[in-house]
Subunit: 259 residues, 2 copies
DNA sequence: GCAATAGTGTCTGTAAGACAGTATATT
DNA sequence: AATATACTGTCTTACAGACACTATTGC
């Protein structure tokens, strides 16, 4: 057992105060690949069900720190741009048939009953984040744990109310996209116009006019052409672009209007 | 002691599980009166310092329910339109010089020391809400507790990080006002054009052109003229208007764009 | 030459923004 | 009549939305 696992074990079984009980953080990690918006889910080593990469908050850290730490531990991702978008606290939201006193008793090697706080209310402080698809190494993660990208449109059965959390995260992201630039975390450094347009289309769930879209990004001065083209594509090669980071960051601060 | 007070006392002193520890809800209640945006603060009977009307979450209720209940108990307000806008969880945010082991020991009539959870991390799940100024009866509230409206621009010294919470709530409200209609909860049923314009001006913190503002509201069909004027004002009497509630509610659902 | 996709220019309609004069009550 | 505020119409400008043709590569 690693130190971190030992700490958690003591938190679960002995009520250690290193973590806060009755609350958890959950993180909807969005990625983008081959014209599809995806979410990163983990299959726990203990429960055979897909879930959001989440965890508990240490007494010494903020919810944001906890979410960043959990993402690092479970998916190897670092330096994430986290957005806290909602708290889920409907009574009973955290009950799941995969987590029973019997399962926990076996898992922890000691008697656990219904009075454990895990069977009482547990609120979820939920975040979403955007990351480049290729940055995630889906092999390396917790020992015995799998993580995998899933298309937004075809999610598996999920733990607790995690499917609803994803749905709310997507709503929050769609609202955000009208006011803040998006793409820096989701696209490679150099990208083509059709790529960024397809990204916006898959987040918004609607088609955008190529001419108007380009004009908008250019008039905002958000992106600039790189003197490079992407060859070997069997047709006219697209130009590559990058974000104007000063404009991008300013737009994150000040807010913008895109459609 | 009322039942509710007894429950809280047992929660504080005996670790009863009727409430969740290490988390609280806080509510920024905005009101509007005489061209000023205001916030409702309470002066606790126990601590001589102004604070947001907040409280703890019962094990059987959601954070939203808890916030509504607390608002009802402390300010008499009911049926509030609550918006959960942020979680505050920076370590140490909840420490305040007014709350010490000595003070609590005296208050609860028993020895309390630094190990009490109140001196550990307590996260705040924060909401804001809008209400009509006149609906609040600032006399009737918890016995021994005062509540009072304060101008947004001149707040007193406040408990914990509550001033920062108000500042973030105002930011969230300002973002909201661009997308959703506001005013139904803040204005009397019948209001004048200058009144609603002044409301928008005080929330946004900038002046609006009277002609363009009226045109916008009218073209959205959000308000309609009532066949009534407000007399006795020493000059040309203004017409009264009300909201078109079907349009208003639809705009709350669908979202709008105002400037 | 054909297939496939990239890239861009123009027109139109709508609405935001700037601006000032008329209207109607009280005193 | 003077004062104070309510109310509204027009012009200009900017941008969103609709639309179709040319460009460039691989095969």
């Amino acid at each position: 057992m690693t130190d971190s696992e030992k700490e958690l074990f003591e938190f679960y079984t002995k009520g250690s105060k290193k973590y806060l009980s009755n609350m958890a953080v959950d993180n909807v990690i969005f990625g983008y690949h081959e014209k599809e918006l995806k979410v990163l889910l983990v299959l726990s080593q203990h429960f055979p069900v897909w879930m959001l990469p989440g965890g508990y908050i240490k007494s010494s850290e903020s919810a944001e720190d906890a979410t960043a730490r959990v993402a690092r531990e479970r998916t190897g991702l670092d330096n994430l741009f986290l957005q806290q978008f909602k708290v889920f606290s409907t009574p009973g939201r955290n009950l799941d048939p995969h987590v029973t006193p019997e399962v926990l008793s076996k898992l922890w090697g000691q008697k656990v009953d219904q009075s454990h706080w895990m069977f009482g209310p547990v609120i979820s402080i939920s975040f979403y984040t955007l990351t480049e698809f290729s940055k995630v190494n889906t092999d390396s993660s917790y020992p015995g744990e799998k993580c995998q990208w899933w298309d937004i449109g075809s999610l598996p059965e999920m733990f607790q109310d995690h499917k609803q959390i994803i749905s709310e995260a997507l709503k929050a992201l769609r609202l955000h996209i009208y006011h803040y630039p998006i793409g820096y975390e989701l696209l490679p450094e150099k990208f083509t116009l059709p790529e960024i347009r397809a990204l916006y289309e898959s987040i918004l769930g609607k088609q955008l006019d190529d001419r108007n879209f380009t004009r908008k990004l250019m008039s905002l001065n958000l992106i600039k052409k790189v003197n490079e083209i992407k060859t070997g594509v069997g047709h006219r090669p697209p130009n590559l672009y990058t974000f104007n980071m000063d404009v991008y960051r300013n737009a994150l601060e000040e807010g913008i209007f895109i459609f």
